[in-house]
Amino acid sequence: MEQVHPQRKWQDYFSFSTDHKVIGVQYLVTAFFFYFVGGALAEAMRVELSTPDPDFVQPEFYNQLMTMHGSIMLFLWILPAGAAFANYLIPLMIGAEDMAFPRLNAVAFWIIPPGGIFFLSSFFVGAPQAGWTSYPPLSLVSGQWGEEIWILSVLLLGTSSILGAINFVTTILRMRIPDMDIHSMPLFCWSMLATSALILLGTPVLAAALILLSFDLIAGTAFFNPAGGGDPIVYQHMFWFYSHPAVYIMVLPFFGVISEVLPVHARKPIFGYRAIAYSSLAISFLGLIVWAHHMFTSGTPGWLRMFFMATTMIIAVPTGIKVFSWCATLWGGKLNLNSALLFGIGFLSSFLIGGLSGVMVASVPFDIHVHDTYFVVAHFHYVLFGGAVFGLFAAVYHWFPKMSGKMVNETLGRIHFVMTFIGFNLTFLPMHPLGLQGMNRRIALYDPKFQALNELVSIGSYLLALSTFPFIINIVWSVFKGKPAPRNPWRALTLEWQTASPPIIENFEEEPVLWAGPYDYGIDTESIDGDEEVEDMLAEVAGNT
């Protein structure tokens, strides 16, 4: 096709661009940088934990590694990676030219790299050691400057997250093409609505908690410091009021991704569109009233524990609806088992385990046993790695042709999947019995009776580290040498596939036509002989003339 519309130059990706596609790629690459940093910290922890004694790093430094690993993976990897796809995809999916507030969008992104570098710089003054939860009083007595840098960085990243959320909500609600009503927009947009609502409601409370914590730390006030009459439990309530929803903030975007990826590669409509859309909103709402389930052994009275047990367990219902609907989407389809769908299926089978253990830890008597043990570490890695990260890789493989204009190498993609899937389960599955048997978390030294399983976990984590190499090679090789991607290599129906790969600067040559619902696979083939009509339309959309 004639290149009448100019494409982005590589320099644009290093500039203060207001193009949502450039910003999306900037988010994604930045997030991956911090993923590798956070992963390296995790590997250092696993080397330490391959023996019971603290012999590889000092225990103080182990706690720094642990705190930085958690904070980086949450605030600088999964959150920005979710925002990356939201930025890139929302305007394209709803047929808009850009986000509602492009300049604000660029500001939101450009807070992250300096914020992240500032955060990493804490290693020079002694990184924070109180865990990503930073509970006082420990956070007030274990290294002032590292802790203060942690607080300021999280405040910066939280601000970026709020700015992003304002943009997502406004864009989704106000900028859809006229034909697209709210029930014919892609499910990814629904999940970003639910995510943004949580960001907007939760983040200010975290900010308030951290500002007060900062006063305690620097000015010697005693909001949370019991030595001066403060109450450390109030901090926990404020912290988890944001940080429990934060789990959904991190995983909901990838619920959306899965709802996009599965129908395309299974060649079937999504099963239960409205059930999936509304269950995102239900999860978002319920996510706001479950925070104290992180405090079942803390300063919480019995009745409060019972209340939060009930609300937490109810979340299993909308989550179950999603999982069953995704399985039903696969059922009877024509599965094209490429890298994107493999990671989608990997998401489904791993997230399931995190969901099942999630119901278990919601039960107060059982949680009293496993709270702060490796069982919980296993649980949230099954949710955040098995859920969010698998979903994220599915998204990368699914939209890479759109973003780069090049196809990925499927063989390397499948190798990447197999290594990740095995490495992931080898790392996190044995953590369940470890926790049940009595291994507490956040420790550099442990009882020798746990050594065998810990060695297995460490081996799994090394495999997980290795699994990133086929991925990196694949992406770098494909960007430069990959086969050019057509507009619509997957024959998908959402609007982002109606424009060039990569899309032109103003997204669409002319206003895109909504000639089918986002998941209407197979529908037009039923009434007519063969599938000529859909083929024709697809051919037209794909520009294969």
Binding site: P137, L138, P301, L330, G332, P365, R491, G522
Partner: protein, 295 residues
């Protein structure tokens, strides 16, 4: 011969149920249960494992079956059947999890109540005295004062409503970086290890001085944070003689992993012996302590 698919489904369903029922009882994932409370928690966990195993096999089975059975044939570019939903099916898979979590919530509530989590008399949450020595040596009069203090909020596990009134063995627990200190108010014994007799309820009155800690007995399935400035409590009845780890489960600093000690459950006679040995050994010591603290 073609076996009708509903018979295959039935057989698969029965197999799945039998495997779940068996695994729920035989997973062997928990350490030994050495307290009355542990038996309760394990019953609950076994039920949850049974349900989880069933759901796991069902969903993973569907996924694996789909991957094998519904693979796209080479060169096939047609779409699958345009099924957009199925209301009865969706009602079923909304209703079943709802019923399951309802049952689990009720059962968990029952177990929690049996553990003493809702014991109103044990419920006190007050700002403990800032005087460290007073806290450790809390006596009868002091605890009455607390009860009158008004704010009754349960922190931890109190007396089980199903146990007949019996006087529990009181032990005061103090958590500091990185050690546990146990004080026996009846005898004045101060120890770095916890010793209790078998089959008698034990009530731990816990307080902390520096940062948060959590008192955890894995073989007893009980845990409670120790919070500076607050009292918390754990009540349990040991049922098996032996030695068990006491672990700090809340991050409390660099050597958090080293903050552990031993709980010894004695037979009644051995416990008397231990009391005698230690009362004698400790008497000069505790006088010394008193003298020290006056200085």
């Amino acid at each position: 011969m073609k076996i009708p698919s509903n018979i295959v489904t039935l057989i698969a369903g029965i197999t799945l149920t039998l495997i779940s029922l068996w695994y729920g009882q035989n997973h062997g994932l928990m350490p030994i249960a050495a307290s009355a409370e542990a038996a309760e928690v394990d019953g609950l966990f076994n039920l949850m494992m049974t349900i989880a195993t069933g759901l796991f096999l069902l969903v993973e089975g569907v996924i694996i079956y789909s991957v094998i059975k519904f693979r796209r044939k080479e060169g096939d570019t047609t779409d699958g059947p345009p099924i957009e939903g199925n209301v009865p099916l969706e009602i079923v898979w909304t209703a079943i999890p709802t019923v399951i979590v309802f049952i689990l919530a009720i059962y968990s509530f029952e177990v929690y109540n049996t553990l003493g989590g809702l014991d109103p008399m044990a419920s006190h949450d007050h700002l403990a005295s800032h005087n460290h020595h007073e806290m450790v040596a809390m006596d009868e009069g002091n605890s009455q004062l607390i009860a009158m203090n008004g704010e009754k909020v349960a922190l931890g596990l109190g007396q089980s409503p199903y146990l007949e009134e019996s006087s529990p063995l009181n032990v005061n627990v103090n958590g500091i970086q990185y050690a546990w200190i146990f004080t026996y108010p009846d005898t004045g014994i101060v120890s770095g290890e916890l010793h209790v007799p078998v089959d008698r309820p034990v009530q731990l009155n816990m307080s902390g001085g520096d940062v948060l800690h959590a008192f955890w007995l894995p073989e007893f399935r009980i845990k409670q944070d120790v919070i500076p400035g607050r009292e918390s409590q754990l009540t349990f009845t040991p049922t098996k003689v032996g030695q068990y780890p006491v672990i700090c489960a809340e991050l409390c600093g660099a050597y958090h992993g080293g903050m552990k000690t031993t709980l010894t459950v004695h037979s009644a006679e051995d416990y008397q012996q231990w009391l005698q040995d230690n009362t004698i050994a400790q008497t000069p010591n505790s006088e010394q302590l008193a003298v020290n603290s006056e200085q």
